[in-house]
C-alpha cells in the first residue's frame, strides 16, 4: 500500500482546470474560446468524478484478469463515460451553431454578433 500523499494531485488538477475554464467562459469574447472553456470545464468535472472512485493500489474493475479485492469503484467510471459522451454531443451542437453564426455575421466576437439588446 502506498502512503497517503498529502497533495491530491488529481483534485488539484481538476480545480485548476475548472478555475481556468470558468475564467475563460466569463471573460473571453471569442465564441470558439468560449466553447473551449466549456470543453475544459467538462474535462475538469470529469477528472474530478473519475478521481473520486480511485482506491489506492486498485486496478480497473474488470474480472478479466483482476481479483475483486483490488478493484476501484466502478460507478464513477461509468458516470464519467456517460458524461464524456454527453459533452461530445453538446460540443458538436455548439460548434455547429458557431459555424452558422459565423456565416451570418462574419465574426466570432460575441459582442459584435449580438444583434439582440436588453
Amino acid at each position: 500500500m502506498m502512503e497517503h500523499v498529502p497533495l491530491d494531485f488529481p483534485f488539484i488538477a481538476a480545480a485548476l482546470l475548472m478555475g481556468v475554464s470558468l475564467y475563460i467562459i466569463i471573460f473571453k469574447k471569442n465564441l470558439i474560446k468560449l466553447i473551449m472553456g466549456i470543453a475544459m470545464l467538462a474535462a475538469g468535472v470529469n477528472l474530478f468524478l473519475v478521481a473520486l472512485g480511485y482506491r489506492a493500489g486498485g486496478g480497473a474493475p474488470i474480472y478479466t484478469g483482476v481479483p475483486k479485492e483490488t478493484m476501484v469503484m466502478p460507478v464513477p467510471q461509468a458516470l464519467t463515460l456517460t458524461s464524456i459522451v454527453i459533452n461530445v454531443a453538446v460540443l458538436a451542437l455548439m460548434l455547429t451553431m458557431v459555424i452558422r453564426i459565423y456565416r451570418h455575421t462574419g465574426s466570432l466576437d460575441s459582442e459584435k454578433s449580438r444583434k439582440l439588446k436588453g
Binding site: 470545464l41 469503484m73 460507478v75 454531443a89 453538446v90 455548439m94 454578433s113 439582440l116 436588453g118
Partner: protein, 522 residues
Amino acid sequence: MDSLIYHSPALIVALPLVVAFAILLISRAGYRVRNIFSLVIFGLIAFLVAVLAVDVHSVGIRVYTFGATAAELALPGGYMVPVRIMFEVDGMSIFMGIIITTVTLAALIYSLHFLKGQTGQARFYSLMMLLYAGMMGLAFTGDMFNLFVFLEIASIAGAGLAAYRTNMADALEGGFKYIVVSAVSALLVLFAIGILYSQYNVLSIAALANYMQYTTLDMIALGLLGGAFVMKLAGVPLHMWAPDTYTVAPAGTTPMILAASYTSMYALYRITFTIYGAHIDSTAIGWIVIVVGVLSMFIGVMMAVHQTDIKRMMAYHAISQGGYMLLGVGVGLAVLANPVALASYGRDAINGGVFHIINHVFYKALLFMTAEAIFFRIGTRDTNKMGGLARNMKWTAVFYIIGALAISGIPPFNGFASKLLIYETVLKFNPVLAVIAMFVSLVTLASFVKVFYSAFTGPEMPAYREVREVPKSMIIGMAILAACVIFFGIFPGLIVDNLVAPATEALINQTPYINAVMGAVP
C-alpha cells in the same frame, strides 16, 4: 390495465423516445402517416399520464426500479442501499408531468400547420419528442445522475429547436446562448453531484436524503445546484439568456422551452425540499429564494414595459411571473421550521407558488402562441408595426385577451386564483412583499393592455388588409390552453385540492419519498 399502470412511469419516458427515433424512418412514408403516428402515440402517452395521475393520487408514491426483478424492489434483496436507477412519481412529479404533457399536446397540434413548407420537419418533430421525454424524465427521476442526463436531453433538444430558423442570425444566437447556459449549469450540477457522491456513495435522491448530514461540502453542493438551477429557470440575476431564447424559438416550441425552465424549477424544489429539507436553515434559504423571486418579479416587469418586440416583452413577463412562484414557495420555505406559521399561511403560500406554475405555463404558452400566430401571418414581431389585427384575426385576438387578463390576475381567469393565494399569504408574512407583488401585477396589466391596443385595435393597416386567421390546427392548439385557463380560473378549489395540495404535501413532507425507497426492505 394493471400492468399498464405498473409500467407507466417507464413507458411515459420510453414511448416518446421510440417516436423520436422512429420518426425519421416513418416520415419516408409521407407527412400524413408521420403526423398520425406521432399524434396517436402522443395520445397514448397522454392517456398513460392521466392514468398514472389517478393512480398516484390514490396510492401516493409509485416507484419504478429499472432492471430489477420487480419494479417496487428499489433495494436489491435485503440490501441497505439502492443500486439501480429508479423513478419515483409522487404528487409533485405528476403535477409537473400534467403541465408538460398538456403544453406539449397543444404545441404538437399547433405545430402541425405551422411547419407547412418548412424543411427538416421530421427532425423538428423528433426534437420535440426528445424535449418532451427529457422533461418527463427530469420530473419522474429519483436519481441524481439520471436527473443530470435528462436535464441535458431537455437542454440540447431545446437549443436545437430554438435555433430552428437558421436563416435568421438572432435565432442562432438565441439557441447558442441557451445551450451555453445549459452546458455550464449542467456541468455545475454534475460537479455538485460528484461532491454529494464523494460523501455518501449513493446517487438515489431518497438515499441521499436519508443519509444527509449537512456538512460544509453539502452546503457547497447546495450552493452550486441552486445557482445552476436558478440560471436554468431564468431567475434574476442570471436571466440574460431567457429573452433571447424565448423570442426566437419557433412556434409551439416556445411554450415547451418555457415548461423546460419550470422543470428546472421543479428540480430546484426537489433538491431543496426533499434532499436538504430537514437539515437546512430554512429561514435563511427561504429568504434567499424570496429575494431572487422579488428581484425577478420587479426587474422582469420593468424590462418588459419598454419592449417593442411582442415575444421579447412576453419573455420578460415570464421572468417576472417566475418570481411569483419563487416568492410563494420561498415564504413557505422560510416558515418550514415553524409549525404554527406553516399551518396558518406557509402551506398556502407554497400552494400558491406551485399553483402559479401550472397557471403561468398555460397562459404564457397561450400568449406565446398568439404572438407566433401574428408572426406567422404578418412576419414581424414589432408591436409598432402592427395594428387593427383584431378585424381579421378574431380568434387570435380573443385568445390574447384571455391570456393577458389571466397574466394580470383578473378574475375569473386562472392567474387570479394563484395570485390571490400568494397575496394573502405573503401579506401575513411580510406586507411590503405583498405590496410589491400587487404593484408588479398592475404594471403587467398596463403593459399587456398597451400591446393589445397597438396590435389588435386601431385603424386597419393597408398592409394587413389581406391577413387571414391562422389555420385550424393552430387555433385548436391555442383553444386547448385557453380552455384550461378558463377552467382553472372557474374551479380553482378543485385543482388546488386534487393537484396542487398533493404536490405541496410532497414538497413539505419528505418522509414518504424516502420511505418509498429506503423503507421497502422486503
